[in-house]
Symmetry: C2
Subunit: 223 residues, 2 copies
DNA sequence: TTATTTTTTTAGACAAGTCTAAATATTTTT
DNA sequence: AAAAATATTTAGACTTGTCTAAAAAAATAA
């Protein structure tokens, strides 16, 4: 159907759209694809011919509905595979990305629907990102970043914004993972760092840079 | 490491070796790869430079130990994925081949070792073919083809030699699958077809052409 | 052992995707 | 609004893997 490369371009454009950018510039896309601007120009011309995106020279590109649906499917596959790797094959959440980057391109509708069923129709992947559903809908999470929290808040870790191995390893070192409980002890105005209590046990300080990349929600009072 | 295409060439050469051919000719390999002889010549030259096989112009090629180990690893991955698809994701044995052809190229040692463990370290795939072990050893099965059977034999189906969807569907239609019990009622000399009883219930006749492609072993008397 | 057929290789071309370097647009600064 | 800086595109080249058509080698037949 579509090549690995085409799917990767579309997926990256979708991510930039989801990040709030309407029109994607060549340079931004080149950065996101770890390639050169000239390569991007070549490729988006081809994708435009295939009606996967709209492209105006020197202006940038926007996914069409067709392109969006391909990209969303790829994202769905990526996140289902990440869930499989962590839940079924005992990978840690910082090991799954590269492998899922490969698995997301396997072509088989049955494979994905059976995998979805096997995993129990999960709604979020191990990083807390929503898994697009078959109809293309992507849940907008009720999560917010930890830097928005207030003193005394009781929170639960739901995901991260920075998916680099370095960052995930850093969190692992402190024992922070999906489902960890955080109590905000104090917010330090001078550097916006946060003092907190992890799982009612360990107490430590996280820098604003770290805190901006941790997604949380309020602990639900399951009465 | 090695490209999809390189892995596919190596895997096909290995299969031909396992089929009993010492030196693989260009035309035979082209047939097996569904490509043209000129493409094969190009590729085996490249593989020879990489020390994956030995090649003598006009004479054919033979895998080196290095090439063999790459090929065996690919075959191991293929058969583990087929096992996963059938055992875990409820695919039928005639649906798995194409998908496994894709999955076998995913690069991740951890993925394969975890998958192997998750599946319980299987020794044979759903078609009855042995799964190469980590050390590269491939069990030589004690199975034989049904056309070697004698009248009165009590047999159990262990695999097939013909892996085409058509053939597997044909067997499914009769209800023949891995583990089916067969009692040989009569061998018809004139066309070498066999009358048999399936699972002590259904009685029917299979042509020699079909019978030659079914692997069986004697029913073990688990006292 | 020469002639014919078959197999294999070479030569040259093509498609996908990438790159560097140069040219052209666009945006920002002055 | 012109000059400078930045962003984008074009031109031409390279790699991987494929193909067709023609040439060369090997096997087979006469």
């Amino acid at each position: 159907m579509y090549s690995f490369t085409e799917e990767n371009y579309l997926k990256n454009i979708l991510k930039l759209h989801l990040g709030g950018t309407q029109v994607i510039s060549t340079n931004v896309l080149a950065e996101s694809m770890h390639t050169k601007a000239s390569s991007v120009t070549d490729m988006i011309k081809k994708l435009a011919v295939k009606k996967l995106l709209k492209y105006e020279p020197y202006r940038g590109c926007v996914l069409t509905n067709l392109g969006k649906s391909v990209a969303v499917t790829t994202l769905r596959k990526h996140r289902l595979w990440e869930t499989f790797l962590v839940n079924t094959l005992s990978f840690s959440w910082d090991e799954v990305h590269e492998v899922a980057e490969q698995l997301e391109h396997i072509q088989s509708d049955k494979l994905i629907s059976q995998l979805d069923a096997f995993l129990g129709f999960p709604t979020h992947d191990p990083h807390g990102d929503p898994i697009p559903q078959l109809d293309g809908k992507i849940a907008t999470s009720a999560f917010f970043t930890l830097d928005k929290a207030k003193s005394q808040n009781q929170l639960i870790v739901c995901g991260v914004l920075n998916h680099t191995t370095d960052f995930l390893k850093y969190l692992s070192k402190y024992g922070i993972q999906i489902g960890s409980h955080l109590s905000i002890l104090q917010i330090n105005a001078f550097d916006r760092s946060i003092d907190l209590l992890l799982n009612e046990k360990q107490q430590f300080n996280l820098s604003n840079e770290v805190v901006k990349n941790i997604l949380v929600q309020f602990i639900k009072q399951v009465a």
